[in-house]
């Protein structure tokens, strides 16, 4: 809009700051839109200068273009469920002495209660320890190594523990620019006392054994018979049926069940065995979560590797730290303390019982659903104490910090507009607005389990660290 056309009028003003200054244009009858101004980047001068450089400096248009390409690649990805395998055999870099966990790297010493509980449970399940005491000693002795799921293209809810013998979903990109990209996730155990919430009692281990010996193999055979399942397609339908793909997965689970049930029956000679497997899937409203997550990871892997992109490609928590990664610098973590979850607690439970935020499940928000698609799932806003209007507002707010809508994930209550997708680090900082994440709350002690659910955000520290590094990275790349 050149200055010459400005003189031609009519003048329309956008105003930020002292209101008296906007009096004159109003008096002249010009439309004036007043901005609710807040200092960008929290008003920190140094960060503001870095941010201004990235938004308005010479590199800004290149970053915009890189982000547009990253988003286009994310949107073109078509994650399919192609197989169910054993972690040891299919997860890249998996080894017999390796346990994968949620979030950024963490040592046994710094692990939170539920994460330790899950490690204990994992050692019991793998038959490496007889009891919890022995498992604890083993874990501290360094006999198993720990590594983030994300370092192996995997994701895991809550503690996110993946041990070598666990069955895992294998997701493969069947579209986009890099077909064949694979991501992984364990199968969901259900609610109540489960390993991912740090429980390790006999029933927990027994369930894991059932999953290894029966659920995994039966579903693997059924899937082989049925053929790959287009997860993006399933997710798109689930969003129109009241799921957001993170805290609510009832529709996705039902759709998956429909896809799998006939094949399970056909693939299984033993009727009871088939029934047990189908009962298990049917009885767990969150079964689809462990597919929505690796689907999100697959979408984001498609966006990675764009050298100047400020798109946030990972958000993950280990219960101690919250870490994020950028599509331009895959593998590099920027961390801050995991925050407490604002939410509803089960009766008798309070914030004092709660562990700080934990799990790789924030990959759903990173990929543009979960909390970002809250408007699709008013039922769970009720659950966290809000109204349906709050759900719409939450999704609208996330539009402010994302690169664009995902037309594949249409939200009925917002006129079938696409779910806001692709967090731009720069916009979050400029607008002082953090991504909103839906999440469950684990008890802080090992072995107890879930105590509630609610909403959480990343810590600003992680975004600030990413800003510093990204600014440096952009300078270096363009030098």
């Amino acid at each position: 809009m050149s200055a010459t056309s400005l003189l031609g009028g009519p003048i329309e003003v956008v105003h930020a700051g002292i209101d008296a200054v906007a009096e004159a244009p109003r008096a002249a009858g010009a439309p004036v839109t007043v901005v609710d101004f807040r200092p960008p980047a929290g008003g920190d001068t140094r960060r503001m200068a870095l941010l201004s450089e990235l938004l308005s400096g010479p590199a800004a248009r290149e970053i915009d273009a890189a982000n547009a390409r990253a988003l286009a690649r994310l949107l073109a990805s078509r994650p399919h469920l192609v197989a169910i395998g054993v972690a040891r055999d299919v997860v890249p870099g998996m080894a017999d002495d390796l346990f994968l966990h949620a979030g950024p790297p963490v040592t046994w010493e710094r692990m939170c209660g539920p994460m330790r509980g899950a490690v204990i449970g994992g050692l019991l399940y793998e038959g490496r320890a007889k009891d919890a005491d022995e498992a604890e000693r083993l874990a501290a002795s360094g006999v198993v190594r720990f590594d983030p799921c994300h370092h192996h293209d995997a994701v895991g809810p809550m503690a996110g523990l993946v041990t070598p013998s666990m069955p895992v979903f294998v997701i493969e990109d069947r579209g986009g620019e890099r077909p064949g990209t694979r991501t992984f996730c364990t199968l969901n155990e259900g609610l109540g006392k489960v390993l991912r919430y740090g429980a390790f009692s006999e029933e927990v281990v027994a369930r894991l054994v059932f999953m290894r010996d029966e659920l995994g193999p039966v579903l693997a055979e059924a899937l082989a018979l049925r053929g790959p399942i287009d997860l993006k397609h399933l997710m798109a339908q689930a969003l129109q049926m009241g799921d957001e793909g993170h805290n609510r997965n009832r529709a996705g689970t039902s759709l998956l069940f429909r896809e799998l049930a006939p094949a399970v029956v056909r693939a299984t000679a033993d009727r009871e065995r088939a029934a047990r497997v189908l009962d298990f899937v049917n009885g767990n409203d969150h079964f689809f979560l462990n597919l929505s997550m690796p689907m999100g990871k697959c979408l984001l892997k498609a966006a990675e590797g764009e050298p100047l992109s400020s798109l946030v490609s990972v958000m993950a928590r280990n219960g101690t730290d919250f870490g994020i990664q950028l599509a331009s610098m895959p593998g590099r973590w920027f961390t801050g303390p995991a925050l407490n979850v604002r939410g509803l607690y089960f009766p008798g439970r309070t914030e004092a019982d709660a562990n700080p935020d934990i799990g790789d499940s924030a990959i759903t928000e990173t990929a543009g659903f979960g909390g970002f698609a809250m408007a699709a799932a008013p039922a769970i806003v009720q659950f966290v104490g809000g109204s349906a209007e709050d759900a719409l507002a939450a999704t609208r707010a996330m539009r402010r910090i994302t690169l664009g809508p995902n037309p594949g994930f249409a939200i009925p209550s917002l006129g079938f507009s696409g779910s806001p997708t692709g967090i731009d680090l720069r916009l979050a900082l400029e607008r002082n607005l953090l991504p909103q994440i839906n999440t469950g709350i684990a008890h802080r002690e090992p072995g107890v389990g879930q105590v509630g659910a609610g909403l959480v955000t990343p810590p600003w520290e992680a975004f600030h660290a990413a800003l510093e590094a990204f600014a440096e990275h952009v300078r270096a790349s363009r030098a």
Partner: protein, 225 residues
């Protein structure tokens, strides 16, 4: 005015009322239930404030409608529990209290109806465990079946009909089945209770109140005898 007469004013949901909660049959009771187990269960299950208010008849601001709901419900629950424990077999004996409860209180399924459903579920459970006269439990079910549809909301009426036929909301059934089961651990009962308590706006707490009122009644009766 009948429901059918006001079609134009109804939302589609009203025109074809649906069950607010998925219902199922109760599992059969494996054997006699001991009072000691019930005492233990009562201490394990978490009791939300609303449930406690219904059990005690005390709660809400003085003279508020809410406090009256608690008082009304409490008096009638007490009377029903007493009749069940005394082995009252006549259906008519249960009717006045049940009629006083149906349609009482806030919600899509009013408090009174939820209490009746909870009470009936527990009556069946304890009848199976030998602590309540089976024919008394059946009499209560029969009364539920006969409560007039126009005295409560369509959703609550469906729920009462399901209950009278022995089908109960799954969240309630899980709790009821864990009570009096010596092999169930306290943790599962607490978790199931918590899940029930957070169902709906009030319904979970109200269902739980109905169920626990009878358990409390059995425990108290045995103590005094």
């Amino acid at each position: 005015m009948r429901i059918e007469d006001r079609g134009s004013l109804q939302s589609p949901a009203t025109a074809t009322p649906r069950l607010p909660l998925t219902c199922r049959d109760l599992d059969p009771v494996p054997g006699p239930i001991s009072r000691a187990t019930l005492v233990l269960d009562l201490s394990s299950v978490g009791v939300p404030a609303r449930t406690r208010a219904l059990l005690s008849g005390e709660g809400g601001a003085p003279d508020s409608v809410e406090s009256r709901v608690f008082r009304w419900a409490h008096a009638r629950i007490g009377s029903l529990v007493e009749k069940l424990l005394s082995g009252e077999l006549r259906v008519a004996a249960y009717r006045p209290d049940a009629a006083g409860l149906t349609g009482l209180g806030p919600g899509l399924t009013p408090t009174g109806d939820d209490v009746l459903v909870g009470l009936s579920a527990m009556a069946r459970r304890l009848a199976g465990g030998g602590l309540v006269e089976i024919r008394a439990a059946v009499a209560l079910s029969t009364v539920l079946a006969g409560l007039p549809a126009e005295e409560t909301t369509p959703a609550a009426h469906l729920l009462l009909r399901e209950a009278s036929e022995g089908r109960f909301p799954a969240v309630l059934a899980t709790v009821v089945e864990l009570i009096g089961n010596p092999h169930a651990d306290a943790e599962s009962l607490r978790t199931a209770g918590a899940r029930l308590a957070e169902t709906g706006a009030h319904s979970g707490a109200d269902l739980l109140a109905g169920a626990l009122a009878l358990v409390q009644g059995v425990v108290d009766a045995r103590e005094s005898s």
